[in-house]
């Protein structure tokens, strides 16, 4: 790898743009990096279209943000995989489907109707949906068609490097820069599927004081009264996904007195984050009163949690053993 700079492309899938902003969080390192690499494609920063990417013959590293939700994302990802030596799934959406994967609780048709017809702020007189040609001010445009389900990248192609987080934080970025430098200096391609985070859980690294026995009597939301900044969230009745979530983010939420919501994805030994969290959380509920409450009362107490999918799989439904709705379309 001599004089010529290596080529990096940043490709957006279904995402919010937060990942793009987080890349800028490299601060001075971004300058350092820009001396070593050529960013040949980054439509969020420069006006480029997919055709521009097509013209570039070979790319060293593709950083793909967002999940796969439209035909255009699918095409872009396949093209990126073909051209890239190293494909990086960047952010929770690319790695686990992200918050958009919760859309998989609904069918495509239901989502489109809600988004393009039913919401009070929508005006869609022509009743046009993505995928159809629309004429606006004499210009004919076509918004890419939605595919049936939201997917993380690895449901479609193989992924070399996972950079989790929503968005990936400084510590993950530092590791990504190391990967890039390693590639430039030694031509090293990381082992397929490497995750740029730690192997421990958030709880393992959390400095909060944990009692020997955590008992949850009543669930509290974060806005309901003061939260002790020194004490374990679960011990305060606040749902925190620390027990099943991979660490390596630097605990920004915990330090800001907010519970973990799981954007780093499942810890290595966890196969299905939501199910594992149920295993962990349910056992804490009324644990000291199991004998004095009846079975029915216990069940009732446990089922007080209003939205288990939304909370336990907030960023990771795409990683679930069951990752989409199983009801019949039009039902329920």
């Amino acid at each position: 790898m001599a004089e010529e700079k290596i080529k990096i492309a940043v490709c957006p899938g279904a995402g919010c743009g937060g990942c793009d902003v987080s890349l800028v969080n490299l601060h001075e390192k971004l300058l350092e990096l820009s001396e070593l690499v050529d960013i040949v494609y980054w439509p969020t920063a420069i006006d480029q279209k997919m055709e521009d990417l097509e013209k570039i013959e070979h790319i060293d590293i593709v950083i793909f943000e967002g999940s796969i939700r439209t035909k255009a994302h699918e095409e872009l990802l396949k093209m990126a995989r073909k051209k890239a030596k190293i494909l990086v799934a960047y952010g929770a959406c690319a790695c686990f489907g992200g918050i958009y994967a919760l859309g998989n609780l609904f069918f495509r048709k239901e989502l489109l109707e809600m988004g393009y017809l039913l919401t009070p702020s929508t005006e869609n007189e022509q009743k046009k949906f993505p995928g159809e040609l629309v004429k606006i001010d004499n210009i004919i445009i076509k918004i890419p068609e939605l595919i049936d389900w939201n997917m993380p990248l690895d449901k479609l192609v193989s992924v070399d490097v996972y950079a989790p987080g929503c968005p990936p934080r400084d510590k993950v970025l530092e590791k990504l820069v190391e990967v890039i430098k390693d590639y430039i200096e030694n031509g090293l391609v990381p082992e397929r599927g490497v995750v740029l985070a730690d192997i421990k859980t958030i709880c393992d690294e959390c400095p909060r004081e944990k009692p020997d026995k955590i008992v949850i009597r009543r669930f509290r939301r974060i806005h309901e009264g003061p939260v002790d900044p020194e004490k374990c969230f679960l011990a305060q009745g606040i749902i925190c996904l620390g027990p099943v979530t991979r660490s390596g983010c630097g605990l920004p939420c915990i330090k800001a007195n907010m519970p973990c919501r799981g954007c780093m994805g499942p810890a290595p030994a966890v196969k299905d984050p939501g199910a594992k969290f149920i295993t962990s959380l349910a056992s804490l509920i009324e644990v000291d009163r199991e004998r004095s409450l009846s079975d029915e009362e216990l069940v009732k107490r446990v089922q007080e949690i209003p939205d288990p999918v939304g909370y336990f799989y907030r960023f990771t439904l795409g990683r679930g053993i069951i990752d989409k709705t199983q009801r019949e379309e039009g039902e329920g």
């Binding site: 609780l105 196969k271 299905d272 939501g274 199910a275 594992k276 149920i278 295993t279 959380l281 349910a282 056992s283 509920i285 644990v287 199991e290 004998r291 079975d295 216990l298 069940v299 446990v302 089922q303 949690i305 939205d307 288990p308 999918v309 336990f312 679930g320 053993i321 069951i322 989409k324 709705t325 199983q326 009801r327 039902e331 329920g332």
Partner: protein, 138 residues
């Protein structure tokens, strides 16, 4: 549903001390029950990870039965059965959100002397799942 020839696949997670012993007694007593259940012995229902249940569904089970020791005082390990009870209660809520009939998971307390109850529960559960039809996961 017209599922006359549908034979459900049911996975049974049975605790070593009660559920499994109960199933054993049903066998030794030559009680008849449908052959749709495949039993897996676990040391205690408290060992049941909710992931196991989802994995069973993903691998083709139409129903999952969990059988352990009676509450409040029978658990060999003191409180494992309570853990299972609470986990399954929360799992049922999750399944409902995922569009799976929560009745596909059933938790029962069956002691080592209740061979008859085990046979009855399996019979009943198989009938119930037959009425629901097969679980086809996407």
């Amino acid at each position: 549903m017209e599922n006359d020839d549908f034979e459900p696949k049911i996975i049974g997670f049975l605790c070593k001390w009660c559920g499994y012993a109960g199933a054993d007694l049903a066998g030794v007593s030559r009680l008849e029950y449908p052959p749709n259940i495949v039993t897996i012995q676990i040391p205690c229902t408290g060992r049941l990870d909710v992931q196991f249940v989802l994995e069973a569904f993903r691998k083709g089970a139409d129903g999952v039965l969990i059988a352990g020791c009676h509450t409040p005082n029978d658990c060999h390990y003191f409180s494992g059965n309570f853990k299972a009870l609470k986990r399954i209660a929360l799992l049922k809520k999750l399944l409902e959100q995922l569009g799976i009939n929560p009745k596909r998971v059933r938790i029962e307390w069956i002691s080592a002397t209740e061979g008859r109850k085990f046979a009855e529960v399996v019979k009943e559960f198989v009938e119930e799942i037959k009425r629901m039809g097969p679980l086809k996961l996407r």
